[in-house]
Symmetry: C2
Subunit: 191 residues, 2 copies
DNA sequence: TGACAATGAGACATTTACCGTCTTACTGTC
DNA sequence: GACAGTAAGACGGTAAATGTCTCATTGTCA
């Protein structure tokens, strides 16, 4: 059985998909989750903002949990990076909730992907992925790499290019190879 | 160029699909239709209730306008009835707005199809279809026939049967034939 | 030009909905 | 029987939506 927090967050997600962020009320979420408003405030003191903040955190954690599981055990640095980018891209494309939100509330959703929310995305991405990269790179380089990869994946997800499909392994590999060898060289022969 | 009324009703329909009946506000509809609130109240004095009432009337008229055009010119009584039932069923099944409403607000939508709204549906159905049936039946019989057919079409649309598909001509014809001949007999040899 | 109808913008009082907190009563657990 | 966790809902304050009004603007016709 799932925790009360999770049930509330699930309800928030459902309500959000159904009515949109600014039409949802605390009562909607309380009803949908089968939890009283009092309990909801106990779980998420601060109301809607805190609740949706928590929801975003959970979604982000889920995203990178899945991603890490998919790329763990890559045999080489290049494979690790390519698979990470490809899997992340495809995971984004398969995210129905994200698609709904982008369709119904592009403003807020884009902001979460590119402005307000991006620092957190990169922070969480680092927490999950830097450990996987560290065997091949110095920590600082790993952090920078994850940072730039996250930005690239998001950008190409939001605005696909005719010349590059980061969801396709061959295309992604061809694109990433020079970047990868550049980084490796940088580490091997630091200035 | 469409009339202001139609633009407002179109907006109401869009808003309703997006947010659901009880989350939509007059302002939402006014904005979406590019009309000021004052004008909206001038066009539909009474606000949301009157507006959505008018929308239902329009949808119903459209539905039966399409239906009548599809069945006009049937060569026989049986053909007329069968085509009416088949076309009505398929028109219902193809109605995206209706499908959305049934999905997001089953309670209100079902009520409009089966309880509160049914008398009007039958009234409008009669207005459109009885004239087509009258060449074959007495007026009173025609009215009773349209009444029962409307109920059947709606019921089988909402809850399809394994034994009967009113959207399929053969199935519908087989089902309707006895009913049709019974009515014809009744008229030919009234008690 | 000037009367006129139609509309947009928005002020306004009123009503409704929502919020956040709090109390009370209930339920299961130790 | 104390206790923690919860549902239910009362409560006052705040925000949003409603419905009505006025006024300025626009386009039309005489």
């Amino acid at each position: 059985m799932s925790s009360a927090e999770d049930r509330v967050l699930d309800a928030a997600k459902r309500c959000c998909e159904r009515w949109g962020l600014d039409k949802v009320t605390i009562d909607d979420i309380a009803h949908d989750s089968g939890v009283s408003r009092a309990t909801l405030y106990r779980l998420f003191p601060g109301g809607k903002d805190v609740l949706f903040e928590a929801l975003r955190v959970r979604e982000l954690d889920e995203f990178f949990t899945v991603l890490r599981a998919e790329v763990e055990g890559a045999g080489s640095f290049e494979d690790l990076i390519v698979r990470t980018v490809v899997c992340a891209t495809n995971e984004l494309r398969a995210d129905e909730h994200l698609a709904l939100m982008l369709g119904s509330e592009p403003g807020e959703t884009l902001s979460q992907l590119t402005v307000d929310g991006l620092p957190r995305i990169i922070r969480v991405a680092s927490a999950y992925l830097v450990p996987l990269v560290e065997p091949y790179l110095q920590r600082a380089s790993a952090i920078r790499l994850i940072d730039v990869l996250a930005r690239l994946v998001i950008s190409y997800f939001l605005a696909p290019s005719d010349h590059l499909d980061l969801g396709d392994e061959q295309s992604a590999r061809a694109f990433l190879r020079p970047l990868i060898s550049a980084m490796t060289l940088t580490v091997s022969h630091p200035t």
